[in-house]
């Protein structure tokens, strides 16, 4: 670390992690699909910044590569794909939600508190770079998961899935100083493929049901 006082360093990482959490709440409160995707891109940009910061502070260079890949795949490629899907399908906003937005926000707040409660014993062990990022990453994972449950449109479910992945990645970098490079590359590849597959799947859904409402999938059981 050297250059920067460890306290200030950890606070900088905490700040970045908090920004990620903030975008999560923005996604939960947002009904417009394209804005959700934009917010996801913004979140990924913050994630890349966090990763770069951790790389700089710890001197572990391969995290830079992960940061770069985050920018390329999650800030540029995947949002582009999703935007295309939205454009082609002509669905702009989500009018009917499984859980309405104010209660969804309350639930997400509860999830964050739960995440802090769960991780608190680990945090107090004190071997982490920062105090918050582990708890925040768990919160992001939970909120992403909840978004997938609360929303009906396939596109927002993809966003929820990707948010979950962002949370995992944040946990990996901030708590464990990054996974081995090969694992990270694999994960990125997985995410990209998943993004593509879900994109195609959404198209098929649209073709079959004239809608991207995933609750229509229940009709397939016959």
């Amino acid at each position: 670390m050297g250059v920067i006082h460890p306290d200030i360093a950890s606070q900088m990482v905490d700040l970045c992690a908090a920004l990620l959490l903030l975008t999560c709440f923005a996604i939960v409160a947002q009904r417009r699909l394209s804005a959700c995707v934009d917010l996801f891109a913004l979140q990924s940009a913050f994630l890349a910044a966090t990763a770069a910061l951790v790389a700089f502070l710890t001197g572990i260079h391969h995290i830079y590569i992960a940061a770069l890949l985050t920018v390329v795949i999650k800030v540029i490629v995947i949002p582009r794909i999703l935007k295309k899907v939205i454009e082609r399908l002509n669905v702009t906003r989500e009018l009917v939600l499984t859980v309405n937005i104010p209660p969804a926000l309350l639930i997400c707040g509860a999830l964050v508190i739960l995440a802090f409660y769960i991780t608190q014993p680990i945090i107090s062990l004190g071997f982490l770079l920062t105090k918050d990022s582990l708890a925040i990453s768990l919160s992001i994972v939970l909120i992403g998961f909840f978004t997938m449950i609360a929303r009906k449109k396939a596109v927002t479910q993809v966003v929820g899935f990707l948010v979950m992945e962002n949370g995992l990645f944040l946990g990996a970098t901030a708590a464990a100083y990054g996974m081995p490079l090969i694992v990270e590359l694999g994960v990125f590849f997985d995410v990209l493929v998943a993004g593509l597959i879900i994109g195609i799947f959404t198209h098929r859904l649209q073709d079959t049901f004239d809608s991207v409402d995933t609750s229509k999938l229940t009709e397939l059981k016959e």
Partner: protein, 316 residues
Amino acid sequence: MIESALIILSQAIAALLVSPFIVGLIRKVKARLQCRQGASVIQPYYDLSKLFRKDVVVSTNTSWIFTATPYILFASTLTASLLVPIFLSKVPMNFAGDVIAVVYLLALGTFFLILAGLDAGSAFGGMGSSREAIVASLTEPAMILSIFAVGLTAGSTNLSTIVHKTALLQDIVTDPPPHLMAFVALFIVTLAETGRVPVDNPATHLELTMIHEAMVLEYSGRYLALVEWASALKLLLFLTLLSNIFAPWGIATEAEPSWMALGMLVWLAKVSGLAVVIGVIESMFAKLRLFRVTDLLGVAFILSLLAVVFFYILRV
């Protein structure tokens, strides 16, 4: 004693004199962004002085509540702004009230304004009052909690103490996540409480959309002047809170005249900067439907709550 009185007086005068300028500045920014020349930034001063001199038309349906409200609103808003550090971090009135008192003083004004909206018997006034009631009920908890989150880092809910300690970076816990959450929450609260886009549109008189303007629709002449001045003061108060609680640096920490002059300049720069930001936001976003406003205010409430919980869980 005399020194304290002078400081209180100068604080009141500064707040009163600067507030119309902020309103003018926001209007100017919006005009420029819409490629219009726009009125001068000092236009609100002309408006106020003209309104003060005009005749007053009062509805025959109204009671003394209607005539007393402008004065009560003005007095309560001014009292609240005496509790907020503007250019000097140690406000003489600090002991008289903390952040909860500020919020409840503003609520006192809102309460009477809601009554005045109902007083004339017009459906517009009732509509404005009813909407103001729901917006206020969702913003005020968020406001208390967000300032309280910052207050915890300084170990006090008195605004002066918070600002003073943060300005000197003494005895405080610097802690970005709660601060960030609290700042975003308070910013949303500012937009909502001062009737700005995307919650309310100060420039509209379309019955379907207006909140604050509907409530004060029956006011004219000097009553309107007082109400408008009070809402400008409230806007300034919120911008001052945002700038001085989260970035108080530059504020005078001792009652030295030269420091206070500098503090005044820095404060002007900060609130003008925030006013420009608000102008830009008003130009960028559309007004939300009334029942979508709750989504936004829900975000503010949850963020402020999380800011407090963060602190409670991790710091102490």
